[in-house]
């Protein structure tokens, strides 16, 4: 880096350079604007296509598509309530399992882990996000489901006597809402963990020192100064994980049992909207059937939109609180 005095260049050459920069700026501006416009245009186009295709079913079936549990293709009845229920419950189970685990991993990596361990463990956690979902599905069928059926479900139901509650009662077949929740938890974990780790590491040293200098223990420092400061980012990470869980199709379809019924028990098989679409799309012959599946897709689209809106709102709330 040798600094050249600005006035050492001949005057006319300098003017030429400025001119060329202006053209470059202009081209660059047009290119990036075009790129930025492509994305919202694409989202809008997808939304329009889905809602247009779903329109016949939506007008014919109206609200029954999400309120009715009767899905009878032959009779032309399409009630996807069990799939809607399954999507929400399996994602909720996933978040209940994944959130504490992911935040625990993030706190360990950012606060306690020796420096040499931080990189490899962080890399392995990130790697969870890179495993194809069909591989998770196979692992679910051959490892997770037998383990749930033989050990976990009997333990929850009988040893912990949770069978008395409706949530852990009934026969343990294996493929179940619980299996789907566990698989989704593993898939959502790296997202929550990676975002949380980054925001925890970004907490300024002055906040940590403030707590320690007041006589906080390390744990109190993390609880009172580090985590609250990172709260909005952690919530964002959780919502990212939720978005992942809501839309996941292949792995869930392989382990959830695909039975369109609403049951309080997590041991019972269930269905999700994504599985429903994936399973029936290739066999959909009637126009109404196809349109009904599109309508289910539209509902899923709206739910993910709402989740993202809530996430934005929460993050905004937290950051606004801080600014007041």
């Amino acid at each position: 880096m040798t600094a050249i005095p600005a006035d050492s260049a001949p005057k006319d050459r300098r003017r030429l350079a400025v001119h060329r920069v202006e053209i470059g700026d202009r081209i660059y501006e047009i290119l990036t604007t075009a790129c930025a416009l492509v994305v919202p245009a694409l989202v809008t186009a997808i939304a329009i296509a889905i809602f247009a295709a779903a329109w016949p079913a939506l007008t014919k079936l109206s609200a029954s598509i999400i309120t009715s549990s009767d899905w009878d293709v032959g009779a032309g009845r399409f009630g996807a309530a069990p799939a809607l229920f399954g999507t929400i419950v399996s994602s909720a189970v996933a978040l209940v399992i994944a959130t504490p685990l992911a935040i625990g991993v993030a706190i360990f990596l950012s606060e306690f882990s020796p420096r040499w361990l931080r990189q490899p463990v962080g890399f392995l956690v990130d790697l969870l996000a890179a495993v194809p979902s069909v591989v998770y599905g196979l692992w679910g069928i051959f490892v997770l489901i037998p383990m749930l059926r033989e050990h976990v479900m009997p333990f929850l139901r009988d040893t912990l006597h949770l069978g008395a509650t409706p949530f852990f009662s009934g026969a343990a077949y294996g493929p179940s809402m619980l299996a789907a929740g566990v698989i989704l938890a593993i898939m959502a974990l790296p997202y929550i963990s990676a975002v949380s780790r980054e925001v925890l590491l970004a907490v300024p040293r002055s906040q940590r020192e403030a707590a320690l200098a007041l006589g906080a223990t390390r744990w109190e420092m993390i609880r009172d100064a580090v985590v609250p400061y990172a709260k909005s980012g952690i919530i964002g990470g959780i919502m990212l994980g939720l978005g992942r869980a809501l839309g996941e199709t292949m792995a869930v379809t392989m382990v959830i049992g695909n039975r369109p019924e609403i049951s309080a028990s997590l041991f019972a098989p269930g269905y999700t909207m994504a599985s429903l679409i994936a399973n029936e799309f290739s066999e959909a012959t009637s126009d109404l059937h196809l349109s009904a599946l599109m309508a289910v897709g539209a509902v899923l689209f709206i739910i993910t939109l709402i989740v993202n809106a809530i996430a934005r709102w929460l993050v905004w709330q937290v950051s606004r609180e801080r600014a007041i």
């Binding site: 940590r208 020192e209 007041l214 006589g215 223990t217 109190e220 009172d224 100064a225």
Partner: protein, 267 residues
Amino acid sequence: MTATLEHRLPKSRQALQPGTIEARDFSFWYGKKQALNNISLIVPPSSVTALIGPSGCGKSTFLRSINRLNDLIPGIRHEGDLSLDGQSIFDKDLDVVALRQRVGMVFQRWNPFPKSIYDNVAYGARINGVTRSSELDEVVERSLRRAALWDEVKDRLRTSALGLSGGQQQRVCIARALANQPEVLLLDEPASALDPGSTQKIEELVYELKRELTIVIVTHNLQQAARASDHTAFFFSGQLVELGPTDQIFTRPREERTDAYITGRFG
């Protein structure tokens, strides 16, 4: 839980007597780099001692050694000893958490938690297990009054501390430190990022507080050291060059390097 609370201070302790800090041949290293070299000094109780010197001279390192905040940094090492009221702060039986409650600290860049003014000031009492709201109210009011901030914020205690001006935020941090009833207060360039009006308020506060506790202040501002302190210690490349009454240091320094620094020939 009781085990961790026992070694802390009693919940409703009275303010301790102002503390005495003594360094004996204290040296300090960050890895291989030596930051302090054989420092010996005594900070008498109920006084203000200013640590002055150019950047990197070790004055902040010395300050952060007194409450062992440097413990966070990997690869640090010390020789010699630092003591508070005759007890070594490196004593194996001494609890660092308790030490930091006896020795409060205020930083250059004000760092209130993103919480309300009340919750900031009540923090130290809360982690000591005080839960009764009447007791917390009392701690908060007393500390804010001591920090000369009560009248300005008493109607907005539940609003975020981050909504205050810089000088007010810094005084929230001082109140937060005072709430622990420390016997020593360490100030690390507390006014260097403040406007002259706020700086003056902090200096007046320092003057008020020294009756009740011992204050050590690191400052780049020589006028501030001259105005606010009783004793001044001049640090240069990790060594204590000269320590004496502030009047004498600024008018009749014994060391040539002190004279050069205070007259602005370097630093």
